[in-house]
């Protein structure tokens, strides 16, 4: 029989309202914790900023995707129409840029949208089939009416007892240790 090594992933605190959660998140962030996350049934205004998610890289990824789309689209048309297989169409210049704009525009939008979706998934570490917090009893209610705050054990300030005290002070309804492989 081999013993399963169980390690502590972190602690969750459950709250009944968004206001309580926002208050708790603010306190936790002010105490210096950074490896934290909040789970809510609906988007809570201002919460991402409170837990330190102020800047997202998605806009930059979309911009790069858009520029790539524009360059590829225009380059493709220029290569085909003006360089590789030049055709005289109605006496127009080979590089008839006004007619290349629709495709360039469409591919700009397409590439930037795809880059946005891919970048969002990558940055959110999705798809994620399992996450340790799923083992918290009653965690499924996060998609209906409960609010959870999560401090990861990897946080340099993490100390099980002091975090538990902090959550108690914040009047969490339940506090759960998340253990697993």
């Amino acid at each position: 029989m081999s013993s399963v090594q169980v390690r502590l992933h972190g602690l969750t605190a459950e709250f009944d309202s968004a206001e309580q959660l926002v208050q708790a998140a603010r306190t936790v962030f002010e105490q210096g914790f950074r490896q934290i996350d909040a789970f809510t049934p609906y988007p809570v205004e201002g919460l991402p900023e409170i837990i330190g998610r102020t800047k997202s890289a998605v806009p930059l990824i979309m911009l790069i995707g858009g520029i790539a789309g524009a360059v590829i689209a225009y380059g493709m048309q220029w290569y085909a129409m003006a360089y590789y297989y030049p055709l005289n169409i109605g006496g127009r210049p080979l590089n008839s840029w006004p007619l290349f704009i629709p495709i360039t525009f469409e591919l700009t939008v397409l590439f930037s949208a795809l880059a946005g979706v891919a970048g969002f998934l990558f940055l959110s570490r999705l798809p994620c089939v399992h996450h340790p917090v799923f083992s918290v009893p009653g965690f499924e209610r996060v998609s209906t009416d409960q609010f959870f705050l999560w401090i990861e054990a990897t946080d340099p300030l993490f100390d099980e007892r002091s975090v538990r005290h902090l959550f108690e002070r914040l009047e969490a309804r339940t506090i759960t240790e998340v253990r697993g492989k």
């Binding site: 127009r92 006004p98 704009i101």
Partner: protein, 377 residues
């Protein structure tokens, strides 16, 4: 509040002076050099008329969809639509200059004459007058209804005025779109009577909306402070709306170019040929770059839209660019090479002075009303 009132009083005096100076110069030259003065006057009229007309759709969109974005700019839009009567008066001088403005009165060459013979049933002076009078009646009725119900909405908490405004605005937008399109065909497109483009009126309407929106954003920055001041969220939404209309304007403009470029038909390309000859092409590039390129790029950035100074700067730039656009739409039809007539600025400030005078008068009147009702509530 005092300082707003005194600034508006100063704006009224300033407008009155500009109006007097502009009209003195333009009024004399309308008799002495009509072939110079009338095109300049038409450009001045079209820009300021565009500001008046641009306020209508923005206001009606607000009444239909609601939102917090329009709260800081609503009074400017309402003061804007109440300049309609003075614009009707300022249209009158144009009626004496038909021969100098619209070639469909006297066709200059044989080909044009042949085309115009078939268009005569629509493009003739009585029909133009009747249509323009009709458009002003429709817009006047819309302005009257919008302003009356808006005042009632501010005076009471009764939900009925809000519903009435919604009911006016839904068909109002359709009627406004149609009447303004036909007005643009008569006033602007018929300057080159052998040319037509079905998307052109919409391009002009987008320019008008952009000018009105840009002006109200600039005024929200310069005239409002304290509790009335626009919040970063409101600025962000106004910036998004500005970006939307910049893109719509550019989308329609480029559509027209692509369709005409692809079609390559003699009767369609003349409009662009006139804007490529004699140095006009360089102004065309300026329009593409500064009415679309630069503002589009800047408005992509969220923190610029939330910064009052940046947003009002971009809006101010767009306002200037749409004055340049009016010049670009009209002047190449009269001048074969790029040139700036010394009468252009006088006509611009003459019509503009009257507009500013009426606008700031109405605005200070509305502000006084809202303070009184605010105090009693």
């Amino acid at each position: 509040m005092e300082s707003v009132a005194s600034r508006l009083a100063a704006a009224q005096r300033f407008g009155a002076i500009l109006f007097c100076v502009g009209f003195l110069v333009v009024g004399v030259t309308l008799f002495l050099a009509p072939s110079h003065a009338f095109p300049s006057y038409l450009m001045g009229f079209l820009f300021w008329m565009g500001l008046t007309l641009g306020c209508f759709p923005v206001l009606m969109i607000y009444h239909l969809v609601g939102g917090i974005w329009a709260v800081p700019i609503r009074k400017f839009l309402e003061a804007g639509i109440s300049t309609l009567p003075v614009m009707a008066v300022l249209l009158v001088p144009l009626l004496f200059g038909f021969g100098y403005l619209y070639r469909w009165i006297h066709p200059v060459d044989l080909r044009t004459a042949e085309v115009l013979e078939r268009k005569e049933i629509y493009l003739n002076m009585p029909a133009w007058l009747i249509r323009t009078a009709l458009f002003f009646c429709v817009w006047g009725a819309q302005a009257f209804l919008l302003l009356r119900w808006s005042r009632r909405q501010l005076e009471s908490s009764d939900p009925r005025p809000t519903l009435a405004l919604r009911k006016i605005s839904a068909p109002g937008l359709i009627v406004f779109g149609l009447t303004t399109s036909f007005a643009v065909v008569d006033w602007v497109m018929s300057l080159e009577p052998d040319w037509y483009s079905s998307i052109f009126p919409l391009i002009i309407i987008m320019g008008q909306i952009l000018s009105a929106l840009a002006l109200s954003i600039v005024l929200a920055r310069t005239l409002l402070f304290g509790a009335d001041e626009a919040t970063p969220d409101q600025l962000n939404q106004l910036g998004d709306l500005l970006l939307t209309f910049v893109m719509l304007w550019a989308y329609m403009t480029i559509s027209q170019i692509i369709i005409i470029y692809a079609g390559n038909l003699p009767n369609e390309i003349t409009w662009y040929l006139h804007r490529m000859r004699g140095g006009w092409l360089s102004l065309s590039w300026v329009v593409a770059l500064f009415a679309f390129g630069v503002p589009f790029f800047l408005l992509l950035f969220r923190h610029l839209k939330r910064a009052p100074t940046w947003l009002s700067g971009i809006a101010g730039g767009l306002l200037v660019m749409h004055a340049v656009c009016v010049f670009w739409y009209v002047a190449p039809s009269f001048r074969s090479s790029i040139s700036f007539d010394w009468l252009d600025p006088f006509a611009f400030i003459g019509v503009g002075g009257a507009w500013v005078l009426v606008f700031s008068r109405q605005l200070s009147h509305n502000l006084r009303l809202s303070t009184i009702s605010g105090q009693s509530a």
